[in-house]
């Protein structure tokens, strides 16, 4: 475990370690891993001249003094305090990149496989090989490095994740099986060491299966770590996935999450994303439809206070006709913080009768903050209903006056109005306990930002 300090030294150390673990096994995962190791050698660092990295600086990330670890088995005892016990759920914790099953496996209905990726790779080899990594075919990853003269993106973080075999959660729901209880997974960074923590998760719903998944990312204590996660979601024909995501790591941490999703015909996906934590966070979501009449709804909030950078990239690709996608986000930004929202919808020529809408509305609570909103719609079909729009605004002084004239302090008025602004998205959360948790978190974050003056009296 090497500790380094300057000029992407942890990355150099990481690559040096990989060279020793190149291996020669012919298993699916080792092949994937070796592809990633090779790609990583020549992959440039993300840089602001790349379209996908224009507004999101990463220099400081590569200067972090990170420990290169993939899993730390020490001190993993359960972490039951990290869960929302208001929700009756099957529970999993992924502590420092190492997955642990909490609770009673016998609770699980028949047809549900619920295990760690490490175990899954031993016991469900064929199933995993069929799915994992297949999303890359949709991305066309293999050749982009050489083919494109102008670099639009850097896949460094993706290769970083794939070049080792990180642990994570593996969930498989067999055909026709519908889980009544949600599955709750907490990704926790424990201990105070600044680590590189990587996880890889795979969720597969076979035909007509149904699952509610709660995913939370948090810190036990401040550590200055970088978490680099990759999840793949496969939603089979007529299957339904409800996904609740909450990123609430502390502001010393760095966080990247990539969630790739493939939806078959007549499938449904509902995702709700609370992106609130870390000093630097980036959520990349790629969605693909492989059959007709699939439906997806992705909503959420972005919160950036006290110097945070909060970045979301959405790419929804409509290649099949008659699919419907909704993507709607709201953001609150204050005090030297930045929100980046890059939302893309592509409708290819054959994807007639597509319905796709995207919106992103932001509220700037102080003037010394930044929002970079970039909605894009690329349509090649001629019979579609699509729209996109963004807004960036401030609180209305008339609204503040109204509340103050009723005896409410200016700070409280600003807080009520700010929560009001995002609560129009929060109201859409169907799971009561999760909605309440989200509101409580929001209240806490806004309270905390008072200290720094985001809600201070301006005069």
């Amino acid at each position: 475990m090497t500790i380094v300090a300057h000029n992407a030294e942890w990355l150099q150390a990481f690559k040096a370690q990989l060279a020793q673990n190149y291996g020669n096994s012919a298993t699916h995962f080792d092949q994937l891993r070796r592809q990633a190791i090779d790609a990583l050698k020549s992959e440039p660092l993300p840089f602001r001249t790349m379209e996908r990295w224009r507004y999101t600086p990463v220099d400081a990330l590569f200067k972090l003094p990170l420990n290169i670890v993939t899993a730390d088995p020490a001190n993993d005892t359960g972490h039951s305090e990290l869960f929302n016990h208001e929700v009756d759920a099957h529970r999993f914790v992924v502590s420092n990149g190492r997955a642990l099953f909490i609770g009673n496996a016998a609770d699980l209905p028949e047809g549900v496989t619920f295990t760690t990726m490490h175990q899954g790779m031993q016991e469900n080899k064929i199933l995993l090989s069929r799915y994992s990594g297949s999303i890359m075919k949709h991305q066309g990853t293999e050749n982009t490095v050489m083919a494109s003269p102008v670099q639009k993106d850097s896949k460094l973080f993706q290769y970083l994740n794939q070049s080792v075999t990180p642990d994570g959660v593996f969930i498989h729901v067999a055909e026709g099986v519908k889980l009544e209880k949600p599955v709750e997974i907490v990704f926790a960074k424990t201990g105070g060491k600044a680590d590189l923590v990587q996880t890889h998760n795979l969720v597969i719903l076979e035909k007509n299966a149904a699952l509610t998944l709660i995913e939370k990312h948090m810190d036990e204590q401040s550590s200055g770590s970088f978490c680099n996660n990759q999840s793949e979601l496969f939603i089979g024909e007529q299957a339904r996935l409800n996904h609740y995501y909450l990123q609430q790591q502390g502001t010393s941490s760095w966080h990247r999450d990539a969630i790739d999703r493939i939806q078959a015909a007549d499938s449904q996906y509902q995702g709700w994303f609370g992106c609130c934590g870390s000093q630097w966070s980036r959520l990349e979501m790629n969605a693909y439809f492989t059959g007709e009449n699939a439906h997806s709804e992705v909503q959420g909030i972005q919160l950036a206070m006290n110097g945070q950078i909060n970045d979301i990239h959405l790419d929804t690709r409509h290649d099949e006709p008659n699919c419907h996608s909704e993507q709607h986000f709201r953001g609150l930004v204050a005090e030297k913080s930045k929100i980046v929202f890059d939302g893309n919808i592509t409708v290819s020529q054959d994807a007639q009768k597509t319905i796709a809408h995207l919106s992103d509305n932001n509220l700037m609570l102080t003037r010394n903050a930044e929002v970079d909103a970039k909605p894009q719609l690329e349509i090649y079909a001629d019979d579609v209903q699509c729209s996109h729009g963004t807004s960036i605004g401030e609180l209305d002084e008339q609204h503040i006056f109204y509340l103050r004239s009723r005896g409410i302090s200016e700070q409280q008025a600003r807080r009520l109005l700010s929560i009001g602004f995002v609560s129009q998205v929060i109201e859409k959360i169907e799971l009561d306990a999760f909605r309440q948790e989200m509101l409580d978190l929001l209240e806490r974050q806004l309270q905390a930002s008072d200290v720094e003056g985001a809600f201070g009296v301006s005069r």
Binding site: D396, E397, Q398, H399, F401, Y402, L403, R404, S405, R406, G407, I408, S409, E410, Q412, L416, L417, I419, G420, F421, V422, S423, Q424
Partner: protein, 250 residues
């Protein structure tokens, strides 16, 4: 209770109030009438502490303190309430949450304990019944998608809830049908008491027929040019404002 002395107020360097004086005692209901642009809304806003108005001279004393020195919310804590001419819509801010925050903020400022949720719920339902505001509007965002009449009733509900010692109604009657007008008038009449005063700013006599104010003032061009009793309302209805304005010019 309220003493306004030679108040001069300008907005963006334009003089609006030009030496207004007014004395309102506890237990009294005053009506302020006047043509458009006479400064009625400016007076209401200055009393409530809205930004954007420059007080260039004069004084406003409320219960012995200099009102102009107080922040907007402090005035509310001291018992001043302004029913707005154009109540704003607050999307995402739940009406019930807003009403409770307001009610408890004022209680806290008086050193009283906050009212717990069940007790508040009982109280607000009772008050909503009084002003005939459908209880489903309590669950919606403040004024969002409310009709004009519902917005005004929501104002009267707040007045009934907060029980101010000085209530100012800024053209609360504008745009109301006869039923809504009665509800507003009932709200005012129910609140009438020995230790409370009210200023009803209006354009028309309709509302005043129900309220029967003790004192009636005519505001024109930033000054009070005539003060009388309720019979002045009838006189204005018959003759309009012209005779007063001509008199002033002559």
């Amino acid at each position: 209770m309220l003493t306004i002395n030679d108040l001069k107020v300008s907005v963006e360097n334009k003089d609006i109030l030009k030496g207004l004086s007014l004395q309102v005692n506890a237990g009294e209901v005053h009506a302020i009438m006047g043509p458009n642009g006479s400064g009625k809304s400016t007076l209401s806003h200055v009393l409530a502490g809205k930004d954007g108005y420059q007080v260039t001279s004069g004084s406003v004393t409320y219960k012995g303190t200099d009102l102009l020195e107080l922040e907007t919310e402090e005035r509310a804590h001291q018992g001043i309430f302004l029913a707005m001419q154009y109540p704003v819509e607050l999307p995402g801010v739940n009406n019930m949450v807003f009403l409770r925050e307001s009610y408890n903020a004022i209680r806290k400022s008086r050193g009283e304990d906050e009212l717990d949720s069940p007790s508040f719920l009982r109280l607000i339902r009772e008050k909503a019944d009084q002003v005939k505001l459908p209880s489903k509007l309590l669950k919606r965002s403040v004024n969002s998608g409310f009709s004009g009449g519902e917005k005004k009733r929501n104002e009267i509900l707040q007045m009934a809830l907060l029980e101010p010692s000085l209530a100012i109604l800024d053209e609360t009657d504008s745009g109301l049908d006869i039923d809504a007008l009665r509800i507003v008038a009932d709200g005012v009449n129910q609140l009438r008491s020995e230790d409370r005063a009210m200023i009803v700013v209006t354009h028309y006599q309709r509302l005043l027929d129900y309220i029967k104010p003790d004192v009636v003032h005519v505001l024109a061009d930033g000054q009070i040019i005539k003060t009388g009793d309720f019979s002045l309302v009838r006189e204005l209805e018959d003759k309009g404002y012209g005779w007063l304005l001509d008199g002033e010019a002559a």
